[in-house]
């Protein structure tokens, strides 16, 4: 790989300019988000609240954008997203299972960081076993793979509900608090950890990007080019698991509300439309920025202009669902 890395052609200017433009857009949107309508009241307090929420949106956006690109490269398909395949439902099931085995008090008394790291580690393990077997051999029957993922997600959700009903009502309140989507939920203790983990995972993905480019050529080609395919699948799925866990831990399972399953799809659709390059070096940052932009700008429009908090997820599900159906009808999903 290192030999190949030495002779890679430099990236052309347009994609780099695109990423720069997206970054500027995000900066502008963030500034508007932070400072608009700021009256002379308790500025410090308002700014801190907004900054935490902004940080959560950017982290989650980047997490979903990058994890979806990575996942699609592993699956060799442009229509799969981690949450269509039941990734965040699995995370919620894991969390419910932990609450029901440790009890609410035990669960709350574990330090935030330890708990989070344990969850991420378990999640990586499960994701590798489950999705590695599902996707590792290269997906020949893509329809069956998607269907399996959808049904698995459904099963995980039912299992979490079942577990949730079996435990003590007080403990169930903890589960509910842990599994409701809310961008305001991210707090000052979890956000820095989450953002750092997310940044680390994104950097690792960028580091892997030459190999991801090779992996995207398909299993057979990649193997004949000397890529060790199976370890690469596992490490990519590991990164996906980290990113999904971070996003879900920060704001709750967006998939349960409907939005995230198609959010990743919209993001990668736009990314591939704008970037016109197969290089992950450029795809990954572009996807992260596009997702963050959509979340920040969309949330701003819905929250400030329309006075509604939760409508964004609904709109994303509607638009994303129609987009997916369009792809299906055009025969783009095979």
């Amino acid at each position: 790989m290192s030999e190949a890395a030495l002779h890679r052609p430099a990236l052309s200017a347009p994609p780099i300019r695109l990423v720069g433009g997206l970054a500027l857009l995000l900066l502008a949107a963030s500034a508007i988000w932070l400072f608009q309508g700021l009256s002379s009241g308790n500025r410090g307090f308002i700014l801190q609240l907004r900054a935490v929420k902004l940080g959560a949106m950017i982290t989650v956006g980047a997490g979903i954008g990058v994890s979806t690109v990575l996942f699609q490269t592993v699956a060799g398909n442009r229509v799969l997203t981690p949450s269509i395949m039941g990734f965040d439902a699995l995370y919620v099931l894991l969390q419910t299972a932990m609450i029901s085995s440790l009890g609410a008090v035990g669960f709350s008394s574990v330090p935030e960081l330890t708990k989070f790291l344990c969850e991420v580690a378990l999640m990586c393990l499960l994701a590798m076993v489950l999705f590695g077997t599902l996707l590792g051999h290269g997906t020949r029957d893509i329809g069956r793979t998607i269907l399996t993922g959808v049904i698995l997600g459904f099963m995980f959700r039912s299992a979490s509900q079942l577990l949730g009903r079996l435990i003590d009502p007080n403990e169930y309140a903890v589960v509910q608090a842990a599994t409701v989507v809310n961008f305001s939920r991210a707090d000052t203790t979890l956000l820095p950890i989450g953002a750092a983990l997310c940044a680390a995972a994104v950097l690792a993905a960028l580091k892997l990007s030459p190999r991801l480019d090779v992996m995207a050529l398909g299993r057979d080609t990649a193997v004949s080019l000397g890529l060790r395919f199976a370890p690469m699948v596992l490490s990519t799925l590991g990164l996906v698991a980290v990113l999904v866990s971070v996003s879900t831990a920060l704001v709750g399972p967006m998939a349960l509300f409907g939005g995230a399953a198609f959010f990743g799809l919209i993001v990668t659709g736009i990314t591939h439309g704008l970037v016109r390059s197969h290089r992950h070096e450029i795809l990954l940052p572009a996807a992260a920025l596009i997702a963050a932009n959509i979340l920040v700008i969309g949330q701003m429009i819905f929250e400030r202009a329309l006075g509604q908090q939760t409508a964004l997820g609904v709109v994303i599900e509607f638009a994303g669902g129609l987009f997916f159906l369009y792809l299906l009808l055009k025969g783009r999903i095979r």
Binding site: G143, T148, V150, I151, Q161, R165, L166, G258, E317
Partner: protein, 318 residues
């Protein structure tokens, strides 16, 4: 070998008895004739609930079987193609536009909407690339998500989230008492009507060209099938909420055992659906007695498991 239909019917008897005996109030149903209190519990709560479960299980399974024959795909059910969400959309619309409409009017409009939604799905899958069997159920699931998001959006605007949550959430029977479930008899009657047209559905499932070649007017029978599926779904959604997977897995299992002769297999589908749903309801009631777990949750877990098994174990033919 004993006939599977007989076995299923025999299994229904103890299940029904168990269902009548299970509940938070401890009464001896065998002495109900002498004990007015036990009689009251039995007639007002236990019997209606048990009947509601039996009717729902049977009707949804038959509707699923018809649907699978209509679209010639084994991996769809009334709950995965947007029928329930369309019914909810119709109910929501009539509630907002004409709140004074009597209940039968609401149900009628809801059924019409469910039929339109189901027809939309049928129109949609005709445009799919041919030979992509698995894309059919996926389109259905996505379509139901899209319609569902419209329902949620409107309800959110109109502050009716609580009102609709019972329809879109998983179904449960804990609220069923006498007077609250009788609509389900219509659902069962609609499903029973399908038996008279069973042969036509079986022919239709051979494909439109073959069916027309055999002299069958496909449009009429198609519309009839859609109507049955829509009426059943609308009734179930409005009385107990949609129950996942039952209309999907039961027809699959039965047709593996009995083949595709619908006139023979429809009664078996109905009995097996009733038995499976009643078992799940009992599990939901007993697992954390005296508290209840909605049957939809139990069925979601069990049904998803059976579905995955079918997805990987079925021979390639669909």
């Amino acid at each position: 070998m004993t006939h599977p239909f007989g076995v299923t019917l025999a299994a229904l008897v103890p299940l029904t008895l168990a269902s009548l005996m299970t509940g938070a109030a401890s009464v001896d149903i065998f002495s109900a004739l002498d004990d007015p209190w036990a009689m009251l519990v039995l007639m007002e709560s236990r019997l209606p609930r048990t009947l509601a479960v039996l009717l729902t299980g049977a009707a949804l399974s038959v509707a699923g079987m018809l649907l699978q024959a209509l679209v010639r795909n084994r991996f769809v059910g009334p709950d995965t193609i947007g029928t329930a969400e369309s019914a909810a959309l119709g109910l929501l619309a009539v509630t907002l536009i004409a709140p004074a409409t009597p209940i039968w009017g609401k149900i009628l409009i809801s059924s019409l909407c469910a039929m339109a939604g189901t027809a939309l799905f049928v129109a949609l899958i005709r445009r799919l690339p041919p030979r992509e069997i698995m894309l059919v159920p996926i389109s259905g699931i996505i379509l139901s998500g899209v319609i569902g998001s419209v329902v949620v959006y409107i309800a959110w605007q109109a502050d009716l989230m609580q009102y609709i949550s019972t329809w879109l959430m998983l179904g449960e029977f804990s609220g069923v008492i006498a007077g609250r479930y009788e609509m389900l008899w219509f659902a069962a009657a609609a499903a029973a009507l399908a038996w008279f047209a069973a042969d036509r559905f079986a022919i239709l499932s051979l494909g439109e060209e073959v069916a027309t070649g055999l002299g069958l007017g496909t449009r009429g029978i198609m519309r009839f099938g859609l109507a049955v599926v829509a009426v059943v779904s609308a009734m179930v959604v409005t009385t107990v909420g949609m129950i996942p997977f039952i209309g999907l897995v039961v027809p699959n299992i039965v047709s593996r055992i009995m083949g595709d002769n619908l006139r023979q297999s429809l009664p078996m589908v109905a009995a097996a659906g009733a038995a499976l749903l009643l078992s799940c309801d009992l599990v939901g009631r007993l697992i954390r007695y005296p508290f209840e777990i909605p049957v939809g949750t139990v069925m979601g877990f069990v049904g998803a498991g059976i579905f995955l098994y079918l997805l990987y174990r079925r021979p390639a033919r669909v």
